[in-house]
């Protein structure tokens, strides 16, 4: 691959439809995301059938929009990268079939990209001013313009590295979202080994379910995060799950249950409605325990692997409590740098897919058409 400046990325694995153009160097020319969050809030979660239908409506217009915004023509597109798994099968298929059709029509190589490898790769991206945005479904209007390259940098031992710094392979990655909670050892964009994962619920799922029990709305993560910052983290204490060294995996089902039952108990004590401060306090206690489990295990993994960098990505990486705890941890450990992508690159987007796509293997045309979506695709099986 040589002359053409961009890979076009397409993502539709869950409830965001997205298209983006990214250069080989990782500069994001444009990243458009259409979210279905409002739509699914009504149901307290993603509804697969509804999601797939919305993806169909949004996908092609987003691609055209991204191309227009970049002032790009198909001559400027080196290849098309698409999330082929893991995710909701009906949703994945919409992006994949769109990408296959465009690849055939425009005679472009097709690059299947692993969704979680994309999440990790987002730390290597540089979003330009004004090009990165979120859009309301169907409304095609930017709702959140972002600043230039404000990829969040937490700590560095070396000033020079801070200026131009990126994490150096190999490093430990923590992927946290509604569907995933994995600690991984990252040797290259495509060579990734699982160190630990959840035995039951993903951390984002625990947030969603706790929010549902507490009647707080959907998605649970941002709501609980906000309430937690206004609460006292030690008013209600919950045990951070699975912090024992002999159990490498995460577990959030027990914590979710403990918090849910605490809410039920408190509601019985306050038949006229739970005071807001109590809700905030329980959220703060829950968040503290969840964050402690994530950071505790991640720090253990860094120590074990002798990693100097820890990259935290995925939707839950937007969580303020998690970022703040990581800030403390890196301040305590001079040799460890902890990295978070910009929040807009943590949640699902296509820039991470296009960026990672430069490192994944393109498929020749005949086999590209036979490519299938994979609801489950172990990250260890990419290469």
């Amino acid at each position: 691959m040589a002359d053409r400046p961009y890979i076009l990325g397409i993502e539709s694995s869950c409830d965001e439809t997205a298209a983006a153009l990214v250069t080989r160097e990782g500069r994001v020319r444009v990243s458009a995301v259409a979210s279905q969050v409002d739509l699914h809030a009504h149901f307290g979660g993603v509804v697969p059938e509804v999601a797939a239908r919305m993806h169909i409506q949004a996908c092609l217009p987003l691609v055209e929009e991204a191309m227009d915004d970049a002032g790009a023509t198909w001559d400027d597109i080196e290849a098309i990268a698409v999330t082929s798994g893991p995710g909701l099968i009906g949703c994945l298929l919409v992006g994949l079939e769109t990408a296959k059709t465009l690849s055939w029509l425009r005679d472009k190589p097709l690059i299947p990209v692993h969704h979680l490898a994309g999440h990790l790769y987002s730390i290597h991206l540089m979003p330009p001013a004004g090009a990165h945005r979120l859009m309301d479904k169907g409304a095609n209007k930017p709702v959140l313009p972002l600043e230039p390259d404000d990829t969040e940098k937490i700590a560095a031992t070396d000033r020079a590295e801070l200026e131009i710094g990126r994490p150096q392979y190999p490093y430990v990655g923590l992927i946290v979202s509604g569907g995933h909670t994995s600690l991984v050892w990252v040797e290259s964009p495509t060579r990734i080994t699982t160190v630990a994962q959840t035995r039951d619920d993903a951390v984002g799922e625990a947030y969603d379910k706790v929010a549902r029990v507490a009647g707080l709305g959907y998605p649970g993560g941002p709501i609980i995060d906000k309430l937690a910052t206004q609460g006292r983290p030690d008013a209600f204490t919950f045990t951070p799950p699975m912090l024992r060294r002999d159990r490498p995996d995460f577990s959030f089902s027990g914590l979710k249950t403990a918090v849910g039952r605490e809410f039920e108990k408190l509601r019985a004590q306050h038949p006229d409605g739970l005071p807001d401060q109590i809700i905030r306090d329980v959220c703060a206690g829950f968040q503290k325990a969840a964050v402690e489990a994530l950071i505790g295990k991640a720090l253990d993994a860094c120590a074990e692997h002798g990693s100097r960098d820890l990259v935290i990505s995925g939707g839950v990486a937007c969580n303020r409590g998690l970022r703040e705890r990581a800030r403390q941890a890196s301040a305590d450990r001079k040799m460890l740098r902890i990295w978070f992508p910009h929040p807009s690159l943590c949640t699902d987007n296509a820039a991470m897919i296009a960026g990672a796509g430069w490192n994944f293997k393109p498929l020749p045309r005949p086999s590209a058409l036979e490519l299938n979506a994979r609801a489950t695709w172990p990250i260890d099986a990419i290469a």
């Binding site: 697969p48 035995r199 993903a202 849910g260």
Partner: protein, 157 residues
């Protein structure tokens, strides 16, 4: 509703896990088992024991996000673990491939079955899990229209 075929009182997570394991031991393929109960009633523990009983050596991770997770057990039976938590209703059943999972060499576990009432009766066992107190759970089983073998009848007695 008809009389339950058994009622099991669990006093620990281990006991709930063990019940799941006993039920899996009794399965021969083609069973559909519904799990209904609030947060913390033991659905995760029971499913974990069930998977272990089928000889699946990886953890039975929550299927909420992907709707269904499938595993091949060492006894030759496949476990399809569904969670209907996110489904909007009956229409969604067509899109998640449940029909394809109802085979003689597979066992289907379904959490949050009440999201799809058309399943009513076309199951082997319907389990209701209730929280009695901090440690105690009451697990009640009703038979559906699919045949229940002696092992499943005995599992909770």
């Amino acid at each position: 509703m008809a009389a339950p075929i058994w009622q099991f009182t669990s006093t620990s997570e281990d006991a709930t896990t063990e019940l799941g394991r006993r039920m899996a031991d009794a399965c021969r393929g083609g069973e559909v088992i519904l799990l209904d109960g609030p947060l913390g009633a033991g659905k995760t523990c029971l499913a974990g024991g069930f998977a272990a009983g089928l000889g699946i050596d990886e953890p039975a991770v929550s299927p909420t996000f992907v709707i269904c997770r499938s595993y091949r057990g060492s006894r030759g039976l496949t476990l399809h673990h569904f969670d209907f938590y996110r489904l909007g209703g009956e229409d969604d059943l067509d899109t998640i491939g449940l029909e394809d999972c109802l085979t003689d060499d597979a066992v289907v576990l379904i959490e949050w079955p009440e999201r799809c009432p058309s399943l009513f009766e076309s199951y082997t066992l319907a389990l209701k899990l209730e929280v009695v107190d901090e440690a105690t759970r009451r697990i009640t089983a009703w038979a559906g229209k699919l045949p229940v073998n002696d092992g499943l009848t005995a599992a909770g007695r």
